[in-house]
Each structure stands twice: as C-alpha cells, then as structure tokens.
C-alpha cells in the first residue's frame, strides 16, 4: 500500500522549498509586472499547495481514494472560481458594474 515513504530529509527539503517559493513570490510581487503578478503569485501558491499536500500531508504514500478526493476538490474549486469570474470579465452588453451614484451604504 505504501509506495513512497516521507523521510525527515524530505520534510526539511520541502520546508526550505516552501520558504524559497514564498520569497520568490514576494520578490516577483515587488517587480512591478502589473496584472501578470497576481497570476504568477497564484501559480506559485498552487505549487506550494502541492508540496504541502504530497509531502507534509503524506498524500504521496496514501491510497488512490484519498488522492481522488483531493483531485476532485481542486477540480470543483477551479470550476467554481473560473465560471463565477467568467461573468464579470465577459460582460459586454450589460453595465459592467452597479451605478456608482447608487451608494449602498448610508
């Protein structure tokens, strides 16, 4: 059942990799790349998440059923977020946002 074993050196390397990715993400955010920054930062976050999932959460040594749940979770969140954000980003005929004159708060 156990195909790979998470050892102490692997944990230490993963931790250092996560810290390195954090500082990489921080450095890129200071570089002034505009809109692209957000997507690069989120991409780095996805990589970090996989490190946490497979090494820290020992997913690498668990059964397929557990990995299936994680894959489906990712799929559903990606669907939820992309389909939701597709609405405001593709509006052409409707007003893109509520009328600013209609202030919602007193």
């Amino acid at each position: 059942m156990i195909s790979a074993h998470v050892t102490t050196p692997k944990l230490v390397v993963s931790w250092l990799a996560l810290l390195a990715l954090t500082f990489l993400s921080f450095g890129i955010s200071r570089a002034g790349l505009g809109e692209a920054e957000l997507f690069i930062a989120l991409g780095i976050s996805v990589v970090k998440t996989f490190v946490v999932l497979f090494i820290f959460m020992h997913l690498v040594e668990q059964r397929f059923a557990n990995r299936l749940i994680v894959s489906l979770t990712f799929l559903f969140i990606a669907l939820l977020v992309t389909l939701t954000v597709a609405d405001p980003l593709t509006r052409k005929t409707f007003p893109p946002r509520p009328d600013p004159a209609a202030h919602p708060y007193p």
Partner: protein, 210 residues
C-alpha cells in the same frame, strides 16, 4: 504505548485507519468548498472592481503578512515532523513539536491581532463601518469586507487547529499514541496543513497587491 482498539464494524486496524483518514480528507474537501465559495466571491468582485481592490488592499502591511506566511509554513513543517516521529514512537519529541506548532499558531494570531488593531484605529473596517477614506468607492468597501471576513474565518480555523494540536500534543506526551496508533495525530496534522494551504492563497490575494 497503548494498543489501538478495533471497532466491530472493521475487519482490520488497517481498514479502520484508512476509514478515519478517508473521512478526514472528505471533511477537508468540504472545508475547501466553504473557502472556495469565498475565493469565488473575491474573484467575482475583483473582476468587477480591479483598481478599487488594489487601492483598498494596498493598505495592508506586506511585512506582517509575509511574516505570518513564514510562521504558518514553519508550523506546518513542525506538525509534519511530529507525525513523522510519533510513527517511530518518539512520543516526547512529537509532543514537543506539537507544542511548538501550537506556539507558532499563537504567534500568527498575535501578528494578525496587531494588524486588526491598526485597522480598527484607522477605521478600515468591513461594510458600512469603513471610513478609512471619505466616500469610499463600492469596490474599496467590498475588498475590505472580504479581507475581514476571509482572514477572520481563517483565524477561527487557526484557533480550532491550536486547540486540537494541544490536545493531541498532551496525549502524545502521556503515551496514548505510538507507532501502531497515530491516526488521530495524523488527522489533526491534516487539518493544520489545510489551514496553512488556505493562508498560502490568502497571502497573495490580500497582501501582494499593488
């Protein structure tokens, strides 16, 4: 180390542990849907008000946010080490690492509390209470409301995780868990790692924006 009891509905301890682990993964899946809906709300409103979100969130301290990222990642590392050592029946070491992880959680909350205190003094509050700038545009208020709600919900998860970490930490010290009985430690660890993963996404969305 005490032996693990086999409940009557299971054939073997291996299957019992697998069921416990599978149940935890399913719980984590449902937790991510809770946060997933909030991330979808964030994406939706940031899609509508890109400039206002950047304006609102620029106010957050990148230094404090990054400190908290490092603290949480390190706490995840110490939890992973604790799970590793309890599997080798090194109880005292595992208990110490779980106590250290709980302390990292406390450091995270203190830093978050410092940030919240600054925001409260500056009236950078959620919804209609926001008056950091006069006549704030809608998008600014929405961005800051999402900031408070998402980091607040995450903070509650940190508190819950700290309680669970300290409980299994004490039980590790007392010798309840060991090489043949550790699925509870593993599952608490999984919960803590989820809290870490959520922050890994909150950090770029609320701090690295400018």
């Amino acid at each position: 180390m005490s032996a693990q009891r086999l409940a009557e509905q299971f054939e073997s301890l291996e299957k019992q542990d697998h069921a416990a682990r599978l149940g935890m993964w399913m719980f984590l899946g449902s937790e991510t849907l809770l946060f997933g809906a909030l991330f979808a709300a964030y994406a939706y409103y940031r899609g509508i008000y890109p400039a206002e979100f950047v304006q609102a969130l620029h106010h957050n301290s990148v230094a404090l946010g990054t400190t908290n990222t490092v603290v949480l990642i390190t706490s995840s590392f110490t939890v992973a080490l604790a799970v590793h050592f309890i599997r080798e029946s090194r109880n005292r070491l595992a208990a110490g690492l779980l106590a250290l992880s709980t302390a990292f959680g406390a450091v995270f909350l203190v830093v978050k509390g410092i940030e919240y205190t600054h925001h409260i003094h500056e009236n950078a509050l959620p919804t209609g209470m926001y008056s950091f700038v006069d006549q704030p545009p809608n998008g600014v208020v929405l961005g800051y409301t999402l900031y408070w709600f998402m980091t607040g919900l995450h903070g509650l998860h940190v508190v819950a995780g700290m309680i669970m970490l300290s409980v299994v930490g004490v039980l590790c010290w007392k010798g309840r868990y060991g090489a043949h009985r550790n699925v509870a430690v593993e599952n608490v660890g999984l919960y803590w790692h989820l809290v870490d993963v959520v922050w890994i996404f909150l950090w770029p969305l609320f701090y690295l924006t400018d």
